[in-house]
């Protein structure tokens, strides 16, 4: 074993406890103090159920869309040299840098029925679940691009050439050789984009319309309960979100570990 293991592990645990486990434990403990009957009552509230379904469903959908288009963007940025490539590359990070409220207001203005885009399309985008989806795609985009890009640029050019000499056409090469190699990075990007989307609040509330049972996200519900000084309900919803998120992330991580193991580390 490398020297310093005790110190390194000790510090890691200390830091993890201080920054993540302690606040989360407080949430869980607070919820537990409500008693089983009250928790069950909150959990079976259809408004909360619908909000959770909306949050998780749209977050998964947005992460999936980002996985596809983020991959395309990363591909374009690594494989082609074109004027303005550096600008595009930098622009990818903008959703990171922008205050989320600004993003939300801007998106709402564009996608509102009288906005640039909203006035062209025949259906409503802003103030519907579709608007939430747009906002979640926006804020999640950088994650997939930034996780896939380095792997793609390090990809051995020989792999694609080998496939070609063996008779594989371009499409076969991409689907059977390139994509499987990118899977772990793509899954990491997907998980990050998903996690960000689930917790997103600032940009969504401006474009969602926040109609109960229709376009109300779970984080908004938590804020509303807090403003009513109903801390019990707020933490109960938070605990449910926490559990669901952890389950999804654990699942993605396991799939990723499995695909990474297949690829091997050293080689």
């Amino acid at each position: 074993m490398l020297p310093g293991f005790g110190l390194a592990l000790g510090f890691s645990w200390f830091y993890l406890t201080l920054m993540i486990l302690l606040p989360l434990a407080a949430v869980v403990l607070w919820t537990a103090s409500l008693g089983p009957a009250r928790i069950l009552q909150i959990a079976s509230d259809p408004r909360i159920f619908l909000a959770l379904r909306l949050s998780f469903g749209l977050s998964l959908a947005a992460a999936a869309v980002n996985a596809v288009f983020g991959l395309l963007l990363a591909w374009t940025l690594t494989r082609y040299d074109f004027p303005g490539r550096r600008l595009v590359d930098a622009a990818v990070d903008l959703p990171f840098a922008l205050p989320t409220a600004v993003a939300g207001i801007a998106l709402a203005a564009i996608y509102a029925p009288n906005g640039w885009v909203g006035s062209i399309v025949p259906f409503k985008i802003a103030f519907t679940p579709l608007g939430i989806f747009v906002a979640l795609v926006f804020i999640g985009l950088p994650f997939v691009v930034r996780t896939v890009q380095p792997v793609l640029s390090d990809l051995d050019q020989g792999l694609e050439e080998a496939a070609a000499t063996l008779g594989a056409n371009r499409a076969t090469t991409i689907f059977k050789v390139v994509l499987p190699t990118l899977t772990p990075a793509l899954l990491t990007g997907f998980a990050l984009a998903f996690a960000r989307a689930v917790g997103e609040y600032g940009s969504v509330i401006f474009i969602a319309g926040n109609i109960p049972y229709v376009s109300e996200i779970a984080p908004l519900l938590i804020i509303m309960r807090l403003e009513e000084f109903d801390y019990g309900s707020a933490t109960a919803v938070a605990t449910m979100m926490l559990t669901l998120s952890f389950a999804v992330l654990l699942f993605v991580n396991l799939v990723e570990a499995w695909s990474r193991k297949r690829l091997g580390h050293a080689y």
Binding site: T165, A168, K176, S259, G264
Partner: protein, 350 residues
């Protein structure tokens, strides 16, 4: 299949990577492309495979010009220096890849693929590793798998780009002999690129030496070593020294003194005499060319001496028997047993 390369040219910016290269390779031959880095050897190999376009010339597969063919259409087996194995596939699936991606009409039945891959695993002596992933193999094993994968498509040509370049010395030696065996068993027309002259001379039927995009010489290992066609080949293959001399009326002159080597051919004027360490013998002072031993050191079974010759004290390297009683600083006479003289300033000089 015969491979004919005719007047191939490839430009990279200002310098030609390949400058009017012509080379005929006969069916079943094992040919080495040898040269220092930047000589164009890998570019030529990749051009044959279709991985690189050429600006001019013809590449004939049999009697057909293959220049317009895609990589896929050329049906060549290509082995990469860094193996380029598909990491997410087991060894078996790597080897089967080329068969499985074929059109339905040309794709063998799965049972036939299984038989073929099993046979290839036997051929490359890895019958037990079918279910491993490439990450679980050693470098030598990976390169064997890469070769099996290339052979699976029954290529018209087998091309290897520095196949042993990433392996350590002992594995290189073993794989070299083994590749020769495989070649003799399967009879594929094979071209491999190397910068290692020992590898080229030991393995190949014929060696093509490239330098700065120009083909210097093509010949058997004996031709290349014993009868170098250009000063570059002389100095690149094996150890050698060169000495500036003057040629006048069939005589070789060093500082106005005739070198007693008999008559030499070639035009009058400045020239360089190239000589290998083992082609120099020492004589008593006063006989042959006069020199002084500047440095003496042990080198395996022999000793190597750096000998200063002429007014400008050019150093030439000589191999001398260990029992010969000489020491550093001694004056000696030198006899050139075998040598080559190339005129200076000729286009073929280095």
């Amino acid at each position: 299949m015969d491979l004919k390369i005719r007047h191939v040219r490839k430009d990279y910016g200002v310098f030609p990577a390949l400058n009017d290269v012509s080379l005929d390779i006969r069916s079943g031959e094992l040919v080495a492309l040898l040269g220092p880095s930047g000589s164009g050897k890998t570019t030529l190999l990749r051009a044959i495979a279709g991985l690189e376009t050429i600006d001019d010339g013809e590449i004939l597969f049999g009697d057909e010009d293959a220049v317009g063919w895609s990589v896929q259409e050329r049906n060549v087996g290509f082995v990469f220096q860094h193996y380029a194995l598909f990491r997410h596939m087991k060894v078996f699936d790597n080897i089967a890849f080329g068969l499985r991606v074929r059109d339905r009409s040309r794709r063998p039945a799965e049972a036939d693929i299984r038989k073929k891959v099993t046979g290839l695993l036997e051929l490359v002596q890895l019958p037990d590793l079918a279910n491993r992933y490439p990450a679980q193999l050693s470098g030598g094993q990976r390169q064997r798998v890469a070769l099996a994968r290339a052979l699976a498509i029954e290529p018209q040509l087998l091309l290897l780009d520095e196949p042993f370049g990433a392996l350590d010395a002992q594995v290189r030696k073993d794989l070299r002999r083994w590749l020769r065996q495989i070649h003799d068993e399967t009879g594929h027309t094979t071209v491999f690129v190397t910068h290692d002259q020992e590898e080229a001379l030991e393995l190949a039927d014929r060696v093509a030496v490239l330098h700065k995009g120009k083909l210097q010489q093509v010949g058997t290992p004996d031709d290349i070593y014993d009868r170098p066609a250009t000063p570059f080949v002389y100095s690149f293959i094996g150890d050698s020294s060169s000495l500036p001399i003057h040629v006048r009326k069939g005589e070789a002159l060093l500082d106005q003194t005739v070198i007693p080597v008999g008559s030499v051919s070639g035009p009058d004027g400045e020239a360089r005499l190239h000589i290998r360490p083992q082609d120099i013998s020492l004589q008593a002072v006063g006989q042959g060319v006069q020199g002084r031993i500047a440095l003496l050191r042990r080198n395996g079974a022999f000793r190597r001496a750096d000998i200063e010759i002429g007014a400008d004290r050019t150093l030439i390297e000589a191999q001398i028997p260990p029992h010969l009683e000489v020491s550093e600083g001694d004056q000696v006479g030198i006899h050139f047993e075998r040598f080559a003289i190339y005129p200076s300033g000729s286009r073929q000089s280095i």
